[in-house]
């Protein structure tokens, strides 16, 4: 993957570059503020941009603003927002244009490198990578709780893992069941959420968005 990193802390920036290089990914640019990020993305056309939320000059939500702008300008680009905190309002804003190619993870998640690389790979392919905390928050903020009332506890578990962006195989591994079982659960979820069979990937995103109340 070709990756651009925007992170104002020099030690985190260096650490990320090193980690990604270890797994054979190419960090084409690593910058420290939002403006340089836009320029780097325009210049290098990366597969994924990893973006810290708090960057100079105000250290509030610069990264979030650029992430949203980049999503509108470059639909193919995977955008991973990477922060010390998960905020419901940011998550909702980020997902307002759909969940394809969007990620929002806590910085701690780099500690589990396999998961982290997985997330980046999914984003590059137009998938989703939401922190479990994002999922919990959006669910608790849930404006459409009732729509999900019909789901069984196990179906909800599967849907929560789908919302994080995991594949059927990964979901099967987490729940320690067979992939076939996961597929059955998902079919049942689609039916209960009244999502007619069309393109499978599309239905997945729709189910997730409905689940998150968006």
């Amino acid at each position: 993957m070709r990756i651009v990193i925007a992170e104002d802390s020099a030690i985190l920036r260096a650490g990320l570059v090193q980690l990604l290089a270890m797994r054979g990914h190419q960090v084409v640019a690593a910058v420290g503020d939002a403006r340089s990020l836009s320029e780097a993305v325009a210049e290098h056309r990366p597969d994924v941009a990893v973006i810290d939320i708090r960057m100079p000059p105000t250290h509030t939500d610069e990264g979030m603003r650029v992430a949203i702008a980049l999503r509108r300008e470059q639909p193919g680009l995977g955008v991973l927002v990477f922060s010390q905190y998960i905020e419901t309002s940011f998550a909702a804003e980020l997902l307002a244009d759909g969940a394809a190619g969007v990620g929002y993870l806590l910085k701690d998640r780099v500690a589990d490198l396999d998961d982290f690389i997985d997330a980046l790979t999914r984003l590059a392919a137009g998938g989703t990578a939401l922190d479990p905390e994002v999922v919990t928050q959006l669910l608790n903020a849930g404006r459409r709780r009732d729509a999900l009332a019909e789901l069984s506890p196990r179906e909800r578990q599967v849907l929560a893992l789908m919302a994080e962006g995991r594949t059927n195989a990964a979901i099967a591994a987490v729940l320690a069941v067979s992939e076939r079982a996961v597929e059955r659960q998902i079919a049942s979820i689609f039916a209960k959420l009244d999502l007619p069979p069309s393109e499978t990937k599309h239905r997945r995103v729709l189910a997730v968005l409905r689940y998150l109340g968006l």
Binding site: I11, G15, Q18, S89, F90, L139
Partner: protein, 409 residues
């Protein structure tokens, strides 16, 4: 100037305020009465400050204005106005001002008018009709006062000099005549010692509250850029160490090393998570994006589903937002811990100059300050900015806690 300008204003003020007060007293048995009296007090305050500015401009008499600080809300406004000593002192001033203004005006007019008349005596004695016959029967022009005949040129000149004297003395005499007015202005329109002290205390307290907020924000930022970033970097390094170890053989020493790194890795993740909660507890950085955004995350963190509605047209100061946020956090903790509620609602509105937050739950009720629910702590926190907290929690529920804060401390 002041001596002349003061009188009409004083008369108008006197009549206006007395009328309003009288009407207010007549209507006192109706709800309208208190409003009219409040209006009188507020107008008196306005007129008082007009007088104060006039005195500053024309008399060079500068007194510091006492500020009116109403409690939030329309009823708070009325209560504030009726209980405001500044307004009542202004009424006192307007009542006493009329006689004082008459005195000032009289002295001013007398000194200047008589001065002018006497000064011009040598000219005017020929013109006006005051004539008398001298002992010799000749018609003479001039005044005759108590047998003293002022008909000669030297006498006329002396009168003129006296007139000039009056005019020269006028500023001094007017100054003396306005002295009571000055004393009234200082005593009734300025700040009394206590009100001045009160104002100083309010100002320093507001500064202290702002400082505290700024300090919290700085600590949170230092943690974010310092310890939190460093720990994440440490976690990254441990991740890399694990990767390196994974690629090597499996001698017993290597296994132990890997185990140590795994433990360090786990501890780092826990430290990051604990530090995040600590930093958020100091001051959630999302408050920079407004109270509504901060509450949006807060309401998802408790065990009870919370309906949030926030309509805050004008952003309050950072200190007020922080206080409101921590009040909501404390109240939602109570809801989750003590109320047994199945759902709750947080409603924030910002009618003019006020931030009103209502936290409602459908629990068992019976909450009161001092029962370990932290309500007493909330009240004192809210009190630091003259906010108010109302707790309505009958046994059996529901519980409604309303917090009102001024938007700027």
């Amino acid at each position: 100037m002041y001596g002349l300008a003061g009188l009409p204003l004083a008369a108008a003020g006197f009549v206006g305020i007395v009328t309003l007060l009288a009407v207010g007293l007549v209507f006192i048995i109706t709800p309208l009465g208190l409003w009219i009296i409040a209006l009188a007090v507020r107008s008196a305050q306005g007129l008082g400050s007009l007088h104060r500015r006039l005195a500053a401009a024309l008399l060079d008499e500068h007194v510091r204005a006492a500020q009116f600080r109403p409690a939030p809300g329309i009823l708070g406004w009325r209560r504030g106005v009726l209980g405001d000593p500044v307004g009542w002192r202004a009424i006192g001033y307007l009542m006493l001002k009329l006689p004082v203004a008459i005195l000032g005006c009289a002295v001013t007019v007398a000194m200047l008018a008589y001065g002018a008349i006497l000064l011009s005596y040598p000219v005017t004695r020929e013109l006006d009709g005051s004539v008398f016959r001298s002992g010799s029967g000749a018609v003479r022009h001039g005044l005759s006062i108590a047998g003293l005949r002022l008909d000669s040129w030297p006498a006329a000149l002396a009168v003129s000099v006296a007139g000039a004297g009056l005019i020269l003395l006028a500023p001094w005499a007017i100054g003396k005549a306005l002295m009571p007015d000055r004393l009234l202005i200082r005593g009734l329109l300025g700040r009394s010692w206590t009100s001045e002290r009160l104002q100083d205390l309010q100002e320093t307290r507001a500064r202290a509250v702002d400082d505290a907020t700024a300090t919290l924000r700085r600590i949170e930022r230092d943690l974010h850029d310092g310890a939190q970033a460093r720990l994440v970097a440490l976690a990254m390094n441990l991740t890399m160490a694990r990767e390196e170890l994974a690629g090597h053989g499996s001698a017993g020493e290597l296994a132990r090393t890997r185990n140590l790194v795994d433990i360090a890795h786990q501890q780092t993740k826990e430290a990051i998570s604990e530090l995040r909660d600590l930093a958020r507890g100091i001051r959630p950085p999302i408050l920079d994006n407004g109270l509504g955004a901060a509450l949006a995350t807060l309401v998802t963190r408790g065990g009870v589903p919370v309906e949030l509605s926030a309509d805050i047209p004008v952003r309050p100061s950072a200190a007020i937002e922080t206080i409101a946020y921590f009040c909501a956090a404390e109240l939602l903790t109570n809801v989750a811990r003590h109320s047994g509620a199945r759902s709750a609602a947080v409603d924030v509105t910002g009618p003019d100059g006020l931030l009103r937050m209502t936290v409602t739950d459908d629990g068992t009720g019976g909450a009161r300050p001092g029962d370990g629910s932290g309500l007493a702590g909330l009240a004192s926190r809210v009190g630091t900015v003259d906010g108010r907290i109302g707790i309505d929690s009958p046994a059996g529920g529901p519980t409604v806690v309303t917090i009102e804060l001024p938007t700027h401390a």
